[in-house]
Amino acid sequence: MTRLVVVSGGLSTPSSTRLLADRLTEATVAALARPVEVDVVELRDLAHPLADNLLTGFPSGALAEAVELVRRADALVVVTPVFSASYSGLFKTFFDVLEPGTLAGKPVLVGATAGTARHSLVLEHALRPLFAYLRAVVVPTAVFAASEDFADPALQQRVERAAGELAALLGVASAPAAGRPTSFEEQVASPVAFEDLLRRASTPGT
């Protein structure tokens, strides 16, 4: 079973961000042509726990569940509204509180919505560098939808192209890069013997 997790940063109900996320999800499920388990994380519902996490350092309740979903996901579809020429603060906060390494090697399809097409390069100038920094594998086609695009068949073509790229990445079974474990769960699952820690401690460059 392929686990696909959708992260939607829309704030209104109904949300055009969620609408785009749903279209990307449907197209991905269709392109994969195999059983897919889809979970949707609505960041609006997590606004308070996210603010709490910034102050306490740990995710509580529903946020902890969402973080765990993302950690276990085989691939992500992430969509944000454009705020002040970038992703929304809420969207960024969610990715700020993930443990380092959570997204390493994970295929990610990025999308954004805005009231005007003049914001379309936010995907390339803000989202792609963010997910590159997080060491995710971002599919080549990023999907932007301004209000008028929802009535344009060309949007669906871009959606399907991006979904096909994500499915292709999953088809080649891109696994997280091996190496030094980074997440807490991984570290606890595979202990580093103390002798190795001691050697590493005294070795310059480590």
Partner: protein
């Protein structure tokens, strides 16, 4: 009043030494007031029958907890039974030679009533003040402690490492009291490397417990226990575990919540974040009646197993001294029930936390470990100085 030495769980308090405005009055205590209050709180801890007082260590305002051994020695001089400890000692930025000297001296002055908890410190800017880098925190903790461990156990040490200037033929003086170094705990909220370190040496592992959900504390402690067994120090359930905790008590639950809420809402670290209700359900913080604090505290065993030391944070967030002392009185009242509760069902093979007396016994008795050497600076012996 006769104070008897308790066996079983060690119960006590720890302080971070923050100077925080009282949100209900807007008044900030002076450093002098806060330092004196710390001493009053420690003395009260002994008076109500607690076993341990531990102080944090910070080198930046708004804290008054620099120079921890000065504080602990002053308290030792005014108490009889209390174990003086730390929460935590900064093994990353403090020279291990100074830690070896300072705490061995404190051992002698307090007749063995001292142990330490090693921690890294999470304030990035403090590290460069001491010539260090927080990104090397784990490596510093591991290498520095390896040196400290030897300084207390070997009279003459040759040593070379990555973070400190080398030592040739160095003797840390005074030598540990009765030839037995202070017991050491290692504290970490979320670094398995530190639990691994504690397990490797057969030292104690202390989990702060107060900021994070119980499920996380459970994982860290389980990891330490499993690795303690791996390194052959005993069974996993014989590993030495300490936990933090925090409470605010009034006879009546509603009064406790009403009085504590403004302190919680404005507290350093988690203030202006989650609600008091969410935080009390998600973390070990208990705000309520003495009975509620008693029951909650006894439930910690459900997820970490029978353990050895429970410390509470009670003097933070701007709470006035009078209130803190009242909290200690209330804690003293439930202390017999806490001890009885922790003793109930505790298997005989689960050890107590090591004390100086138990470590001396395990070493086969006390021995004077004084090093009477030629002064390596002047090349003369002390007797010659006297007769000269």
């Amino acid at each position: 009043m006769e104070q008897k030495q308790h066996t079983g769980m060690q119960l006590g308090i720890f302080t971070v030494g923050d100077v925080t405005p009282d949100p209900t009055t807007g008044r900030t205590p002076t450093e002098h007031e806060r330092i004196k209050a710390t001493v009053a709180i420690a003395k009260k801890a002994e008076e109500v029958g607690l076993d341990v007082f531990a102080t944090g260590e910070h080198h930046n305002p708004p804290f008054i907890s620099s120079a921890p051994t000065t504080t602990l020695a002053y308290i030792a001089a005014q108490t009889e039974r209390l174990i003086l400890s730390t929460a935590t000692t900064l093994i990353t930025t403090t020279d291990p030679v100074l830690i070896a000297e300072n705490y061995a001296k404190l051992q002698h002055l307090s007749d063995g009533r001292v142990d330490l908890t090693m921690g890294r410190g999470n304030t990035g800017p403090v590290y460069p003040w001491f010539g260090k880098d927080i990104r090397q925190g784990i490596n510093l903790a591991i290498e520095n402690y390896a040196l400290l461990h030897r300084l207390w156990r070997e009279d003459v040490v040759d040593w070379e490492g990555r973070f400190r200037t080398p030592l040739q033929g160095f003797t840390s003086a005074p030598r540990p009291l009765d030839g037995v170094p202070p017991f050491v705990w290692h504290g970490s909220i979320r670094s398995p490397e530190i639990a691994e370190q504690a397990a490797y040496y057969g030292d104690g592992f202390f989990h702060n417990h107060i900021f994070w959900p119980a499920s996380h504390t459970q994982k860290m402690v389980a990891y330490y226990r499993q690795r303690f067994e791996h390194y052959g120090h005993g069974r996993a359930d014989q590993a030495i575990v300490g936990l933090g905790g925090q409470f605010f008590m009034r006879r009546n639950s509603q009064d406790a919540v009403r009085e504590f809420r403004p302190y919680f809402d404005n507290a350093p670290v988690y203030g202006h974040g989650p609600s008091l209700e969410d935080f009390t359900s998600g973390t070990p913080l208990t705000v309520g009646s003495p009975q509620e604090v008693l029951e909650r505290t006894l439930s910690f065993r459900d997820y970490v197993g029978d353990y050895q030391r429970q410390l509470f944070l009670i003097d933070h967030a701007g709470l006035p001294l009078k209130t803190v002392l009242e909290q200690l009185d209330l804690l003293g009242e439930i202390l017999p029930d806490l001890r009885a509760g922790f003793a109930e069902g505790r298997p005989a093979h689960v050890p107590d936390a090591p004390t100086h007396a138990s470590l001396v016994a395990a070493a086969g008795g006390a021995r004077d470990s004084s090093v009477h050497a030629v002064d390596d600076v002047t090349g003369r012996r002390a007797e010659e100085e006297v007769s000269a």
